[in-house]
Symmetry: C2
Subunit: 317 residues, 2 copies
């Protein structure tokens, strides 16, 4: 009896069963298990997927890892009308090849990995920024959207806002109808800044690698999310000390290049899509994340945290 | 102007300012900045801290890392009355030295690191479990507590429950007064299981290394949390494939020993304390996490997610 308990994983089963033919479960035809979120996404029709334009993709190539394996991180930049001042600066920095030769210089557990000019604090050593970067006001942490542009996440409450949902595939929160802000979910990319009223240029960026630090919402600009290669930022050694800055230069992870996909040769461009958050498939996926009824689960939750309903991404088939 | 924006980090400043004397900020005496959560914790009186008993600490020693650095992970086991069936099994497994020579065999990004017997699925290779492990019923995912034992987190809502808060220093959620369940926050440790009604023995364990997968609450047993050395589980290379199992044995992280601190020589026992969740210091800390007013912040959130109010831990001074 105890021996039969030794089989491996909780999560293993969630997806193992999803992959298995339901016939192997020896159930009556009317007792077909409820589809898992992954199964719903896999069955979504092609028309529910949205291509991500090459100028909305930032491709960051880190130095290979200790075993010589290449490390590529792909970041989707926020679509208009969200955060476009900073996103404009990021495009300008990428076109200037400004990040080439910079580094990931800070990794703080359950918080952020941060990159850019590690010597930026020292005026004698700081890398010169390109001309023409925009200064973005704090008011741009909030964005006005047309009422129909916001898709509410049903059956949820949000400790950080009156409501939440999605705008053009991005997780946002809302206090008044029409005014939204992007949320610090896992993998989201933001702009490091100095004390207010400084809002940062976009040269120093971080990715969230732990539980969503939602108290940063409306306090720092979010500009995108990691949609491929997240593990190359989340599995880096943590820096010593409370803030995770590396104390030795050799511990930093060198950044070889950062390019907009639109500046890469056609063959090297990532071809990625996100599941439209207005689609029926997304609605079913969000409902299944809210109430898991696939065979592993006993008690459906009855609600879901916005950051626990990540927008599905896939390689274009 | 742009040059002045180049200073490093958002998070750097949060704690850098916390550490700095307020005198350096050149403010009027009545404009002293509001204390940060970290400052409130640092100022908590000794009486607000609770010693963690040696038989509630599990010390897991992993093989040293690639640079030869030791890796020790300390797990606090749940206090009565939460999850005591499984916790009893875990103490029995540790006393039998059952985990010595096992491994971390699965690391899935934004989800879990999992350890135990990687060959447990194969009856011909599985490690024999000690006699006397308890079979715990699913009803034990919920725990009855006396009304006064539950400290609600104020100013919050929870998408997964009607209320939430803490019991004896552990984050819990609640639907009916008196019935609580522990929550899958970052660093929490749970018991891998097979399909229901199997609830697992405790031999296969996982730690949450990403955004809280709260949909697992009431579906899998939680038995503790990592309170030291979390980075040794969260920064491991992710396994290939959707579930993060390693496909090569050499990629697993060997576990040298797992011991209750009560079985270690006195000098090797971790001396750790948690901040009492009933204390006034904790109340002020939770309020400061809910409404950040320290100088970096512009907009206080007005609420906080239970998993974004981690219970402070310190080495006993």
């Amino acid at each position: 009896m105890v021996a039969s308990m030794r089989t491996i994983a909780p999560m293993a089963l969630i997806l193992a069963l999803a992959a298995a033919s339901t016939a192997t479960l020896a159930q009556a035809p009317d007792a077909k298990p409820a589809p898992s979120p992954g199964e719903i996404v896999a069955a979504a029709p092609g028309g529910d997927w949205v291509d991500i334009a090459p100028d909305e993709l930032l491709v960051m190539t880190l130095a290979p890892d200790a075993k010589g394996k290449p490390r590529r991180v792909v970041i989707q930049l926020m679509a208009a009308p969200l955060s476009q001042g900073w996103v404009g600066n990021i495009r300008m920095l990428a076109k200037a090849r400004w990040w080439d030769g910079t580094a990931v210089y800070r990794v703080q557990d359950n918080y952020v990995s941060q990159w850019g000019d590690a010597e930026g604090d020292d005026p004698a050593k700081a890398k010169t920024l390109p001309e023409g970067l925009r200064t973005v006001p704090e008011s741009d942490y909030l964005t006005k959207v047309a009422p129909g542009a916001f898709d509410a996440l049903p059956k949820t409450v949000d400790p950080y806002a009156r409501g939440n949902g999605f705008v053009q595939g991005w997780p946002v929160a809302m206090n008044e109808a029409g005014t939204v802000w992007p949320t610090h979910c896992y993998g989201m990319v933001g702009v490091a800044r100095d004390l207010s009223p400084n809002t940062g240029t976009g040269s120093e960026l971080y990715a969230v690698i732990g539980h969503a630090p939602r108290h940063l919402d409306r306090n720092i600009a979010l500009v995108g999310r990691v949609i491929e290669g997240m593990e190359h930022l989340s599995s880096l050694p943590r820096g010593p000390g409370a803030l995770g800055f590396y104390d030795k230069i050799e511990d930093r992870t060198p950044i070889r290049t950062v390019r907009l996909a639109s500046e890469l040769p056609n063959a090297e461009r990532p071809r990625l899509q996100y599941l439209a958050t207005q689609s029926e498939s997304f609605e079913r996926y969000a409902e299944a994340r809210t109430n898991r009824r696939d065979p592993f689960f006993i008690v459906p939750a009855g609600g879901a945290d916005l950051c626990n309903v990540p927008v599905p991404i896939r390689t274009k088939p």
